[in-house]
């Protein structure tokens, strides 16, 4: 039933498994949808969608599948009329024409629909006395909720609901979509990911497991037997390198919030942050103002910030080619005898885990952005959105 809806949801990026799909059918069997499209909308959403970030995707899939069924109430009246009268054939034509018009925009084969419609009318004649036939009728996908009306079950009976399409059309969950640009709270959530993965770290068992020791000692006839466990502390160390100024100015607020979020999530073992302008060269600035003199040597950073720090570079990677490839490409400070590209490669060699977050990354291949393409080859680059940040965090934690 509704198999096309299942696949539309899948196509929109909702991760639905058979377990949930069967649960939805179970719900329909138990008539939890209240025989209305709106009821179906809420039931399906509660069962199929597991995060408010996915509501928008669900809304769009729902709209795509059921849009042809907007005229819920008028159909009810017509159908009831039809049920009262006996001149079926005449009305059938009228209904047929009406439906053929309706389904046109759903790209359905006309003859197919006609046939289905006739079949269904036949079935209903014998079934509608039997009571709740609605779900069965729902199977004739293109007609959706209509069956409910014919079967004599109340439509839209659960008052107080917003119509499903009013909800869908408003796309009120758009803000929750996780491919949207981030705000501070969402940043913090994302950085918490680094904590949650930390319990999986492969570190030696160094803490005394008191409960385990007691259990083992008791099992050992009262002779002490020590048990050890892995510490539950977060061992993650972060090095944050941020591009500041120039083309990054439009994203100042965003970067500021990212910075705040990292420092607020005080569960890391250590956080260090430095700034750069456009590209990384011989000096790393201590403040976002990037003032000459207020810096450390990039070599010094390599020596003092171990290679097991996880590095997050934030920048738009929009350097001019000479800024990346020329040994004198740094127009703000010293190049240290190496080009920007060489410095980036040094960084890549030194640190085991590096990700690049880009607030305005081009989707897919973008050969016209030469520097961005070059940097992408060196570091895994993610767009600075909830989704991108989450992916980046996973990348940082996995081997």
């Amino acid at each position: 039933m509704f198999t096309n809806f299942f696949y539309t949801c899948k196509a929109k990026g909702l991760d639905i498994s058979l377990t949930e799909w069967i649960a939805l059918h179970d719900a329909m069997n138990k008539n939890l949808c209240g025989s209305s499209l709106t009821g179906f909308y809420y039931t399906a959403r509660a069962i199929l969608v597991k995060s408010e970030t996915d509501f928008d995707k669900f809304d769009m899939a729902f709209e795509e599948c059921f849009k042809g069924i907007k005229t819920e109430n008028t159909i009810t009246d017509r159908m009831l009329e039809w049920l009262d009268k006996s001149e079926m054939q005449e009305l059938l034509h009228e209904e047929e024409r009406y439906w053929l018009n309706q389904v046109e925009d759903m790209h359905v084969d006309k003859e197919d629909v006609e046939q289905k419609f006739k079949d269904r009318l036949k079935e209903q004649d014998s079934e509608h006395n039997g009571g709740s036939y609605w779900i069965g009728t729902m199977g004739k996908t293109q007609f959706g909720n209509m069956g409910g009306n014919i079967g004599g079950i109340r439509v839209g009976g659960s008052t107080g609901y917003q119509s499903a399409f009013a909800v869908v059309g408003a796309r009120k969950y758009k803000d929750f979509r996780d491919d949207k640009m981030l705000d501070n709270r969402q940043f913090q959530m994302a950085f918490r990911k680094l904590r949650q993965f930390s319990s999986k770290l492969d570190i030696p068992k160094t803490e005394l497991d008191i409960n385990g020791t007691i259990d083992s000692t008791c099992n050992n006839g009262g002779f002490l037997k020590l048990e050890w466990e892995r510490p539950r502390k977060n061992a993650v160390k972060l090095l944050l390198l941020m591009d500041s100024g120039g083309t990054m100015i439009p994203f100042t607020k965003l970067l500021n919030e990212l910075f705040q979020a990292i420092h607020k999530s005080n569960h890391y073992k250590d956080v260090k942050s430095y700034y750069f302008h456009n590209c990384i060269y011989a000096k790393m600035y201590k403040t976002p103002e990037c003032e000459n003199g207020d810096w450390v040597d990039t070599d010094w950073m390599f020596r003092n910030v171990d290679s097991d720090y996880k590095v997050i570079i934030v920048g738009d990677a929009a350097m001019a080619p000479e800024e990346l490839y020329s040994k004198t490409g740094n127009y703000r400070g010293p190049n240290g005898g190496l080009s920007g590209e060489e410095w980036l490669l040094l960084l890549k060699q030194h640190y085991k885990k590096v990700v690049w977050l880009n607030p305005k990354m081009a989707p897919g291949e973008a050969p016209w952005r030469e520097a961005e393409t070059a940097v992408k080859k060196m570091f895994p680059m993610y767009k600075l959105t909830v989704e991108g940040l989450n992916e980046a965090m996973v990348k940082l934690m996995t081997k």
Binding site: A23, D26, A46, V49, K50, E52, S158, S199
Partner: protein, 270 residues
């Protein structure tokens, strides 16, 4: 099993939420509730238990909570002591098995409402450790070789503040509901269940300021329903002139908890 949850005298639920509760009860699956802090996630379980006339068992999750604690604990230390002092009944392990909240819910003679509060506080693996138990509503006590099986499947309500992502396998078994922040009409209804005879102008002016403050995007912590209720209560006790709410922001500390936010609000309202 037919359960029907409606708003109670104390708790106003949206139609959507009521439908979700009823779906979860009918399908016998746990209901996972997410939503902004202060939208009444925890209150829901209380309201459900009252509306259905069933006992409420609350299992508060902390960062150190382990799944096993919810099932049962085996008090080995007590047994060791008892053994050393030769107390009676040491042979009987069952004496040292104490059921946790989940165990209690399963073992209850009547159907209960079980609230697993703030499940995201616990360790990452916590929800996965409960998959079987929540699915089958039974668990096995190894020490006594006894299976505790739910006599009546409890109505399980789980709340989460989305601090951690919950594992997919766990989510698949849940009915999900996100509590939207109530709009003004619903909020008015909620307030009136708490203060049935609140002065209209006070409520109107306070709500206006409240929703305006909520619209400031820079706020670190937006005030929520519970803060509004406290604020109204404070103003009613303090006898504030409703006309001056906007200008003076009396007791604003009840509404806004952070210094930085307080500055933002003061500046904006001026």
């Amino acid at each position: 099993m037919k359960t029907n949850f409606k708003s109670t005298g104390e708790y106003i639920a949206s139609e959507e939420l009521m439908a979700s509760v009823n779906i979860a009860a009918a399908l016998e699956k746990p209901l996972l509730i997410k939503g902004e802090p202060g939208t009444g996630k925890t209150m829901l379980a209380k309201a459900v238990s009252e509306a259905l006339g069933k006992k409420l068992i609350v299992w508060n999750i902390k960062s150190t909570t382990k799944a096993q604690e919810g099932l049962y604990t085996y008090d080995t230390i007590q047994r060791l002591y008892d053994g050393q002092f030769g107390n009676e009944g040491v042979d009987d392990i069952a004496r040292y098995i104490k059921l946790g909240k989940l165990g209690e819910a399963f073992d209850s003679e009547d159907q209960v409402v079980l609230l697993i509060d703030e499940i995201d506080k616990a360790d990452l693996e916590f929800p996965n450790d409960l998959l079987w138990e929540l699915d089958q509503m039974e668990f096995y006590i190894y020490e006594t070789k006894r299976t505790v099986k739910a006599k009546h499947r409890p109505i399980v309500i789980i709340t989460s503040n989305a601090e951690k992502e919950l594992p997919d396998a766990f989510l698949r078994r849940c009915i999900f509901h996100y509590i939207d922040f109530p709009d003004e009409a619903l909020m008015e209804e909620i307030v009136k269940t708490h203060f049935p005879d609140i002065e209209e102008t006070l409520l109107k002016n306070a709500m206006q300021v409240f929703y305006e403050i909520r619209s400031y995007s820079q706020l670190r912590k937006k005030p929520a329903t519970s803060e509004l209720i406290d604020w109204l209560n404070a103003m009613m006790i303090g006898g504030v002139n409703p006309e001056k709410i906007k200008a003076e922001l009396p007791f604003v500390g009840v509404l806004i908890k952070k210094d930085e936010d307080l500055d933002i609000v003061r500046k904006r309202v001026d």
